[in-house]
Symmetry: C2
Subunit: 274 residues, 2 copies
């Protein structure tokens, strides 16, 4: 039994889709969430910049004595290496989006044709393709960079009938449809908010919610490491680098609850003290 | 005659629309451009964060001994006050987007119904409305926050027939059309790349390019202050906080030339040394 909190982090609010799933499947766990809203988005920046920002967050969460870290951001999961995370936070197990969603995709695919939608910074790394190839060399994988989806989600354009979002998705989904994918990894934690629309536009294709997969892999890792808290109810604290208002109002769309009282603003320059 | 460079800055690449105009009307001037590409966009962040970032840039440009500063960013122009800029860079004249584009709009309007398209952070301040009211109290002004336009421009969705961009613009332009504006300020330096599309969708409406207005106001200020360089040809240096590649490839869309050789990467943490 281990009462330390789980650390979950993302460039912004996308990682809250993983928090939502953690609340469901691990209701007794305390969670510390970190969203770098003063520097979001990461998905259109260089690897150097992504890694610099992400390493600061890993240091901060390590200082908060978390028992595990969930990298609930596709861009960080694919740009910061496991060795870099371990070096910044020794002896703290971490779960990225990649392995859990690749395992789910491999279990789901019948044809071996798998699609990946993610940010440009994620697609550039080929991490999903390489990870799939290790377990299923004959798989055929198409990755599509979707730079406009994060702004659409962050600006609340997620209603089922939204024509702008549908037209934008059509641009990204057409090559995946032409390629004949039967399984599609949503490789960015913002995208589950578009799950219904993508499902409607890609009938018969299995959609993999990478944030939810990472949450389930976290439960498994805690069980195996005998690290579960066994509390009845856990609490969640949210840290963000821009002001609380913006974060709390967007977070409501992800979590369906008001979390303003659980929010703490932390300045980027304070991060270097940890 | 004053050979010192002109400083021009923006959260990212948008301010290059002002540089393009400066190159045309002041070809003999040296220019130092600063784009904070590791932290763009500013237009969806809080005032506190915008001002903190922008003040670092003002300090940097002051250290480069510029003779004038062009705030070629609508969000900075409307969130950082003139007093804050002067305090960070004493004795250096500065030109924001606001006054020059408001003067142009007041000269153009026949009906006194003026529209402003800008980022959420700009619209929130009411700066354009207040500035118009000072000179023309009877004017009726409608500001529309357009959070998706910067991502569209940064991702190159600027071709005349682009249906996603047109549908997005329709959402922002409809209330301006209903309001009956005869003059529309593009209050963000990214938007001139959409000038042709907006013009096509708003026939009969005078469009005000705020970056170009700021550039012309800069020429006037240098003439009045006897600060022109009188060189035949000036050179431009570009600083950016993320890597050079990204910047140079997007900059090509703004400047129609390859500027990679004139680019210098500067780390955010180095900014605090100036």
């Amino acid at each position: 039994m281990d009462k330390r909190p789980i650390g979950v982090f993302d460039s912004g609010v996308g990682g809250l889709t993983a928090v939502l799933e953690l609340h469901k499947i691990l209701p007794g766990e305390d969670i510390i969430y970190f969203g770098d809203t003063a520097r979001v988005p990461y998905g259109t920046r260089s690897r150097e910049t992504v890694c610099k920002y992400a390493t600061q967050i890993v240091h901060f969460l390590a200082s908060q004595k978390v028992k595990a870290m969930v990298v609930a951001c596709g861009t960080i999961s694919t740009n910061l290496s496991g060795a870099e995370i371990t070096s910044a936070a020794p002896n703290i197990p971490h779960i990225t989006l990649v392995d859990p969603s690749v395992q789910a995709a491999l279990a789901a695919t019948r044809t071996g044709r798998i699609g990946v939608m993610a940010t440009p910074a994620t697609i550039r790394t080929n991490t999903f393709n390489n990870c799939i190839a290790k377990s299923m060399p004959q798989a055929e994988v198409l990755g599509v960079a979707c730079p406009l989806l994060v702004p659409l989600v962050e600006n609340g354009m997620t209603n089922f009938e939204n024509q702008i979002t549908r037209l934008t998705l059509e641009m990204y989904l057409q090559p995946l449809r032409d390629f004949g994918v039967d399984t599609l990894i949503l490789g960015c934690t913002h995208y589950p908010l578009l799950l219904n629309i993508v499902g409607d536009m890609m009938p018969g294709v299995t959609l993999i919610d990478s944030g939810a997969c990472a949450a389930r892999a976290t439960k498994q890792a805690l069980e195996q490491g005998n690290l579960l808290s066994k509390n009845q109810t856990g609490s969640t604290i949210y840290y963000m680098t821009d002001t609380i208002n913006n974060f709390a109002s967007v977070a409501k769309k992800f979590l369906f609850e008001d979390i303003e009282d659980q929010c703490h603003h932390i300045l980027i320059e304070e991060l270097d003290n940890f």
